[in-house]
Amino acid sequence: MKKELTCITCPMGCQLTVVDKNDDGNFEVTGNTCKRGPKYAINELTNPTRVIPTTVVVRNGMLPRLPVKTAEPIPKGQIFEAMKAINQVVVDAPVKIGDVVIENLLGLGINVVSTKNMDRC
């Protein structure tokens, strides 16, 4: 098996080639310019994941929406399920960066955290 991928770990966008000679899960990655490349490529072929940045409703803040993200990447297949859960949340200002907005999202063991400091006003 041979596959071409664009690494999305950073804006360099390296073109990666992944070869699994014997189809036994021994991946050989080339084209990367840093050590994050192979990790991304293997992850992408075995269990693709993404960080989800989105917003939740915030009350008594300077703005009506608070930006949040999943603290870790979640499986690609569960993105829309995650969005549904995140869109149920309403928080109250003040909120600090890193404050947990949802604990253990969809039982994945991953939290959703605030990405903005929002004072009460």
Binding site: C10, R50, P53, T55, L63, P64, P67, K69, I97, K116
Partner: protein, 422 residues
Amino acid sequence: MIYDIVILGGGPAGLSAAVQAKKDGVENILILERDRELGGILNQCIHNGFGLHTFNEELTGPEYAARYIKQVVDLGIPYLLDTMVLDMTDHGETKIIHVINEESGYMTIETRSAILTMGCRERTSGAIGIPGYRPSGVFTAGTAQRFINMEGYMPGKEVVILGSGDIGLIMARRMTLEGAHVNAVCELMPYSNGLVRNIVQCLNDYDIPLKLSHTITFIHGKDRIEGVTVAQVDDKLKVIPGTDEFIPCDTLLLSVGLIPENEITVNAGVEMDNRTNGSIVGELRQTTMPGVFACGNVVHVHDLVDFVSEEAVLAGKGAAKYVKGTLDTNVTFTTANGDGIGYVVPQQVAMKNVEENVTFYMRVRQVFENKVVNAYIGDQLIATKKEKKLLPAEMVNFKIAKEVLEKYPAGEIRFVVEEAQK
């Protein structure tokens, strides 16, 4: 009171420049910001991918801004919010900044030095002149981004995006995540104007088609947009008859380029560069007006905020040197864009101000594969930068060491795209 440095804009460039100038020992600094908070456009860029160069970790826009806002606050640098700069006038030793805000009304602020960090704004539908009606539902991608991410409004449900700039790609994903259906992203050019990683993670991940060499030839709908006619273009960007297709939609987002916001710069009499639509700057981002510096998207549109912060450090250093009277004003080199290169920043270099090296930022005019960028002074090749692929969407950073440049007394540094020497 006369300030040492006044910074026009509290976005990533202004914050980073302020921090650097303060670290270099300048006491009286003031940041002027027209929005209700510091951070600029980063506040609406809630996606991740910022800071990999600067902080070695992947941050969202608000998180990246917060890192710099904290430094500004910790260093005790004062700032005024909700304050709009109307004009800047040159009075030799000082500049007068004319501003307006709700609390003080109109007032003037006098300063020895000014750093221009006003950023850029989006090209609108008026700028590209699409035929058809002018219904509601046509937004710039950045406006839609602000509505969704900050104000909590959803612009629509059936979306077409014109232009494949990064904001357009990011918004294609964002609208999809919030339940909209993005029919297509249309790009006039045969290549995307966004970063490759954004094509992968914003379009491919969600099966959103990218129609290269396609444009919108008609906007339908009198009150609200009802659809667009999309057609293919040839290599001269002319519409190919018979290729038109109607795509129904209730929302059209435009991601068709950014324009540095330089009205204040031009009015003040700072010399401009029509290739970048920004001012002509030197290695420490000094403009042609003594005491006035500029950095970030107001000088040239960057694709990564990390490079904006990096450039702003130079402007902060430069302004600090100017205030202390140690900035050299003798230009050693000018720069020029040769074959394949659209522009080069900085346009001038005063070697006495250079510490270890000079980074030249440039953009190529088209997609090149397996080519190199060569730097020449006269006929002499002084440096080479290898790139597997050169894309107009990805800025080239070409670093040349001080000792290489020092071998030449003066002249023009010319950058060209050429075949790689085997």
